[in-house]
């Protein structure tokens, strides 16, 4: 009876997960979707704690269980509440790592039981407790959970370190070959163990564990910090599969479905993310320019001359315009200039200038980066226009102010088939009457390529750190 209720709980859980994910993919329902999934999760967890039974026997160690849950809840809740909006991708990566660790730990414990059974009963032949013919299957799943879980854990930690700048990109020649070799070794050992496990060679299990962690580290190391969102999404789907292994292990449907769901959706999401930057997943993983960008201007052929504009002039131009569009980019995030930017916007509005933001889908370093950033500075959501709308408005715009954006306004994406970003839709700022670009130098952006826009007659450069420049601009305009 109780067990049947549990089945129902799990059924509800699975369905809420699907519904939740579905609603999450639509701005209007996203938030509700998240809550629904959370509710389902609570139901499934509570059900497990109170109704789960194996061989008619309930679970024990409630003290430990509730202790762990309480600790986890407190830490998780605080961490998630405290984190700065712009640091959220790091958080996600961290939590994802935790999930991987959880899967790996489960495998370790389950293997421990098997090991004890073997050792105490002296080896293969008299395995006793554990039904021997079931061992290979059991072991296979345990190993899968261990490997995927560990990779996802180690990888996420590295990704986390990279995003908050603790860890620098690092790669050595032939690293990709090394990685592949490592992976093959892990799989080889796993297969061997599955078929020849015995009380004398079980330690291989722990070697596999160590190697998997190592692989996770080397897998993420060479990938450019800017590509972390993609990598996290990939590791995310890994963890999903690891969870699904748990589902097989305990023939637990909600773990199975939830895991597979995330595994599938996560994989697709990863691909969609790459598409948005108009790159292939392979290209991201092998990091063709994700890392290259750091190497500075690739092939910086001289482009002729660019015009500079002084602070005071920009102040005038902006405050006597009718309609101004601000194009925020990665630089704004780096400079943490969102508040200063909002300042300027309000000031101009008070002077009767219509100010809007043009948000490119992949501006910054994670999808929605600019939305998060500006939302943090309380810029009203209505002021943020998506690329399509913005492109329609530019022709009737007097001034476009580009703050630390580069690739997303690079005409090469439309004109030069040779360019790495060729084909990526961009903001056609040239359509506006006048373009002011703020960046610190003529250095290229993420894609590591020159930007013709800066050399066009319409364009004038306003060099300096975004935050500083914006604050000075505000001062200037006030003094007009």
């Amino acid at each position: 009876m109780e067990f049947n209720i549990l089945t129902l709980c799990y059924l509800i859980g699975s369905v809420t997960f699907i519904l939740g994910l579905k609603m999450l993919s639509n701005p209007a329902t996203a938030r509700k979707g998240n809550l629904i999934a959370a509710t389902g999760m609570i139901i499934a967890i509570a059900g497990t704690i109170f109704l789960y039974e194996e061989g008619g026997q309930k679970l024990g160690n409630y003290g430990w269980i509730f202790g762990g849950i309480t600790i986890g809840t407190i830490i998780g809740f605080l961490a998630a509440k405290k984190v700065k909006m712009t640091a959220m991708p790091e958080m996600v990566s961290m939590f994802n790592g935790m999930g991987g660790a959880c899967a790996a730990l489960i495998s370790l414990v389950e293997f421990g039981h098997l090991k004890d059974a073997m050792v105490t009963h002296g080896g293969v032949d008299s395995i006793g407790a554990v039904k021997w013919d079931l061992v290979p299957g059991f072991l296979l799943i345990v190993l899968l959970g261990l490997i995927i879980g560990s990779v996802s854990f180690a990888g996420s930690m590295i990704a986390w370190g990279k995003l908050n700048g603790k860890i620098k990109d690092f790669s050595f020649k032939g690293q990709h070959l090394f990685n592949i070799g490592l992976l093959l070794l892990i799989l080889g050992l796993a297969v061997y163990l599955v078929f020849n496990i015995s009380s004398s060679n079980y330690f291989i299990f722990y070697i596999i564990f160590a190697l998997s962690l190592l692989y996770g580290v080397f897998f993420v190391f060479p990938i450019g910090g800017a590509d972390m969102p993609v990598v996290i999404s990939l590791l995310n789907s890994f963890t999903g599969v690891a969870a699904a292994c748990g589902g097989f292990l305990y023939d637990n449907k909600v773990m199975l479905t939830g895991g597979i769901l995330v595994g599938a959706a996560g994989t697709l999401l990863t691909i969609l993310m790459c598409k948005a930057m108009n790159r292939s997943l392979a290209n991201v993983l092998i990091g063709s320019f994700g890392g290259g960008a750091k190497a500075g201007p690739a092939g910086a052929k001289d482009q002729g001359h660019y015009k500079e504009i002084s602070l005071s002039d920009s102040a005038v131009v902006l405050s006597y315009a009718n309609r101004v569009y601000i194009v925020p980019g990665y630089g704004l995030a780096v400079a943490q200039a969102q508040h200063a930017c909002h300042e300027l916007e309000k000031l101009l509005e008070s002077k009767g200038v219509e100010v809007k933001y043009a948000i490119h889908p992949v501006a910054g370093r994670m999808p929605g980066h600019m939305n998060v950033l500006l939302a943090e500075a309380d810029v009203p959501y209505e002021k943020l226009l998506e690329m399509e709308q913005a492109n329609e408005e530019f022709p009737s715009t007097d001034v476009v102010l580009i703050l630390g954006a580069n690739d997303v306004v690079n005409p090469a994406a439309k004109t030069d088939p040779a360019s790495p970003i060729y084909g990526m839709p961009i903001l056609d700022v040239e359509l506006a009457k006048h373009v002011i670009v703020n960046k610190r130098s003529m250095k290229p952006g993420y894609a590591g390529i020159e930007n013709d826009l800066f050399f066009q007659p319409k364009t004038s450069m306003l060099f300096g750190d975004a935050k500083k420049v914006l604050q000075d601009l505000v001062a200037e305009i006030k003094n007009l």
């Binding site: 024990g60 809740f77 998630a80 959220m88 489960i106 637990n252 773990m255 895991g259």
Partner: protein
């Protein structure tokens, strides 16, 4: 070969569930706009926290003298909970900014 076939027909239902789930997973997020990529990733991240259930089972089954199991299980429960709670809370915070959208 034969072994595989046997395995397939004995785990038929499981296989069906897995395959169908893959289809659902792919179809369900097919239309997501790129602004939502990050929240969606974060939401999915919270969902795979369901692995916590495994941790709870492990923990609940551990004999009270088997300290290794107890400690590892305990850790598993903690990190699992971290994944779940943190995941959902962060996602919710990310999505706060879309609230405003419905107003106009």
């Amino acid at each position: 070969m034969n072994g595989i076939l046997n395995w397939i027909s004995s785990n038929q239902q499981m296989i069906y569930i897995v395959i169908l789930m893959i289809f659902v997973g792919i179809e369900v997020i097919g239309r997501v706009p790129s602004v939502l990529h990050t929240p969606l990733m974060s939401g999915a991240n919270a969902i795979h926290g369901v692995v916590i259930i495994g941790a709870i089972i492990v923990m609940g089954k551990a004999e009270s003298d088997n300290y290794v199991a107890l400690v590892l299980g305990f850790l598993a429960v903690i990190v699992g909970t971290l994944n779940v709670v943190g995941g959902f809370v962060v996602t919710d915070r990310m999505l706060e900014m879309f609230k405003k959208k419905k107003k106009p």
